[in-house]
């Protein structure tokens, strides 16, 4: 066991930290449009310094960082409270899927604008009727000379209105069994057949959208991985998503925990034994999350792919984030009920943590079946 960074890793961390200190763009401006513009500029800045495609191979314009370097980078980003780059889904899902399954032409066409943030990507997987059961999706695409016409509705699409491209999974064969007959498309969002409606959440914010495809046209060259292989390609994407978005989670929680401790002191509750037990419990779970991440990383370094154990981290993180925000609101009293308060927002927002990116129930299924080897449900 060796949980320290070696010299080259430590140097890398220092490099990231120094760069972030010098280049941190400050706080995000208010207003969705302004905020997005800000993050686009931030991505451009990151890209110019070679940080945007940190996990991407050098041949595709990335930095080719090791897994550890990626983890260090995510940790430093969270530590510095730096904003996400604008094209986050392009970077962690779109790019990797194109690199893995795309043709040379597709790589040539799409990769660079993803990195630079020039073209934003969004994801069109979830539908109102298919949440956990992705393979039951109903959006369909019908062949039409040299391309396809897609019709259907997607939900939970982040930044759809800013996106040039959508990773769209649609049914192309009605006769085939559920998991077959799906095809993975890259659909141009800037066309008439695509309508976007903001999806307001219980927080009052519209972080997501609904996207309606009404005969949207997709040329043949925008099929990724071949007709009928959509399920397999989508699964790769989702694995990348879970691994790519989880990186800085433990650091962010630990930062929030520090804020909670300060809050408790401000409210003079540091001597309340019940509060102390709760803070300790959260601290212990946060540390377990951090360490579990390191163990998962070590395992991934051996096997090359993120293991199903990662589902524990997703589950842990969701519950922890929820409990933490709830305790903070308890401490705040009536202030913790105030609309727009940062902790109030977090308390409401965190309710989705156990749903988005795979529900906690699905995580438990994965652990039961794929880690413990229990028989499949049904």
């Amino acid at each position: 066991m060796d949980l320290t960074l070696n010299d080259s890793e430590a140097a890398f961390r220092d490099e990231v930290r120094t760069w972030l200190e010098a280049n941190h763009p400050g706080e995000e401006p208010a207003g969705d449009i302004e905020a997005f513009k800000f993050r686009r500029a931030w991505q451009k800045q990151m890209h110019e310094a070679g940080w945007a495609g940190i996990s991407w191979p050098k041949e595709f314009g990335g930095r080719g960082a090791t897994l550890i370097e990626q983890a260090i980078f995510a940790g430093e980003m969270a530590r510095a409270d730096a904003p996400s780059p604008a094209n986050i889904l392009g970077l962690v899902m779109g790019g990797p899927v194109i690199m893995a399954h795309g043709t040379d032409e597709q790589k040539e066409r799409w990769l660079e604008p993803i990195l630079s943030g020039e073209e934003i990507w969004c994801q069109g997987f979830s539908e109102p009727e298919s949440g956990s059961d992705l393979a039951s999706l109903k959006t369909k695409a019908v062949k039409e000379n040299g391309g396809w016409r897609a019709t259907g509705q997607k939900v939970w699409t982040t930044f759809a209105h800013e996106s040039k491209w959508c990773m769209l999974v649609a049914r192309t064969d009605q006769e085939a069994p559920k998991h077959k007959g799906l095809t993975y498309f890259i659909c141009d969002m800037e066309q008439e057949g695509v309508e976007i409606r903001p999806l307001v959440q219980i927080t009052g914010e519209a972080e997501f959208n609904e996207v309606f495809f009404e005969g949207a046209y997709i040329p043949d060259e925008n099929v990724v991985g071949g007709e009928g292989n959509g399920w397999m390609v989508a699964i790769t994407t989702l694995m990348n998503e879970r691994a790519g978005l989880g990186g800085g989670a433990a650091v962010a929680i630990s930062r929030d925990l520090g804020r909670l401790v300060e809050l408790i002191k401000e409210h003079d509750l540091q001597d309340d034994p019940v509060v102390r037990q709760k803070v300790a419990d959260l601290s212990i779970r946060a540390e377990a999350l951090r360490l579990g991440g390191m163990r998962a990383l070590t395992a991934q370094m051996k096997t090359g792919i993120p293991g199903p154990e990662g589902s524990i981290g997703k589950w842990e993180w969701a519950k922890l984030n929820q409990d933490l925000a709830e305790l903070a609101c308890d401490v705040l009293g009536v202030e913790g009920l105030e609309k727009g308060g940062p902790w109030t927002y977090k308390m409401l927002r965190s309710r989705a943590n156990s749903i988005e990116g795979g529900t906690t129930e699905v995580m438990k299924n994965i652990i039961a079946e794929r880690v413990l080897g229990l028989p499949r449900l049904r």
Binding site: P128, G131, V200, V334, G336, E338, K339, I355, E356, E361
Partner: protein, 329 residues
């Protein structure tokens, strides 16, 4: 021995359920909550039904019924998630009636009972439904309870997540006139009223989850056929029924067995606070993404549950009282 409503109480409950279902359809609740207002004509209508004065004595214009009847209405109003100044007015009425001077009763109770001169209600942290009220009953930070004439008093609105009630900043300890009587019995009754609102909320959130679990299909069957979902629903029922038993008992004790009231009220508020918050959270989880959207009605319940769980003392605070009453001193 009969732990159930009598015919008259059953009638009140059924009528309230039906009336509220027509008047506070989800789209009406949404309209009022999003606008941040009440509908005065609905308040008048409800007052004309005698609800506002249900537990106030006839001498002062009320119906002279008991805490059980008031609790029934509170539960149904929670179930309907109705934006109405009902709870605050009822709380004000309970205090003035139980602890007010004869003069205070004469001055304020008729308006509270008729709904035409509403009472607001506040504690050191927040004032509920002050806007448009004639008076406010306020628990001070100095352990005194006062009645404040709101005529000419300007209020500073507080924008809380619960959009089904109107909140403003507390009035402070300066204004108003102390109530001379013992207000502990009123305080306990107030806890029961809030607990009942929370039971109604929890019941509704559970019904929505069960309904959704029957309809929504994933992996070719209704999600309610999976124990991951069905057992969550069973746990909701567990929470709801525990909270309900304790709340009903506390209301009965207020009317019939005053010695049991302090413990029963603290238990009801503690349990209902946790039940409502927990059931609403589970209901969102069962609904998945859709339950997290503004367009779904669940969040109005969730936020009202959160506020109700916080106000009038948290579950922890009431457990502390229970511990003292249970013999730990």
């Amino acid at each position: 021995m009969r732990f159930d409503f009598d015919d008259e109480q059953r009638e009140i409950k059924d009528t309230a359920r039906q009336f509220l279902a027509t008047r506070f359809k989800p789209e009406k609740v949404r309209e009022l909550a999003e606008a941040g207002t009440y509908d005065d004509s609905l308040w008048s209508e409800i007052s004309e039904l005698g609800w506002a004065g249900i537990a106030i004595d006839e001498e002062h214009g009320g119906q002279g019924l008991g805490m059980v009847e008031l609790m029934i209405l509170c539960e149904e109003l929670g179930h309907a998630c109705a934006p109405l100044p009902f709870l605050s007015n009822a709380c004000a009425g309970l205090v003035v009636e139980t602890a007010g001077s004869e003069e205070q009763k004469g001055r304020w109770l008729p308006g509270i009972a008729s709904g035409e001169g509403r009472g607001a209600f506040g504690d050191p942290e927040v004032l509920i439904d002050g806007e448009g009220a004639a008076c406010a009953v306020v628990y001070g930070s100095d352990d005194e309870v006062r009645v404040v004439d709101l005529d000419g008093v300007s209020l500073e609105p507080l924008d809380l997540i619960d959009a089904t009630r109107r909140y403003s900043a507390p009035l402070g300890d300066g204004a108003g006139e102390t109530v001379p009587g013992a207000f502990a019995p009123a305080t306990d009754r107030i806890l029961i009223a809030v607990a009942a609102d929370l039971v109604g909320i929890a019941q509704r959130a559970m019904e929505m989850a069960v309904e959704y679990a029957k309809d929504r299909k994933q992996f070719d069957r209704p999600i309610g056929a999976y124990q991951a979902v069905s057992h969550q629903c069973a746990e909701m029922l567990y929470d709801v029924e525990e909270a309900r038993s304790l709340t009903y008992f506390a209301a009965w004790a207020a009317d019939a067995e005053p010695d049991s009231l302090p413990m029963a009220a603290a238990m009801a508020k503690a349990r209902a606070s946790e039940a409502a918050w927990s059931v609403c959270k589970s209901s969102i989880q069962v609904h998945g993404g859709i339950g997290f959207t503004w367009e779904h009605d669940l969040h109005f319940l969730l936020k009202r549950a959160r506020a109700g769980a916080r106000l009038f003392g948290t579950a922890s605070q009431h457990r502390e009282r229970v511990a003292a009453l249970a013999g730990l001193g």
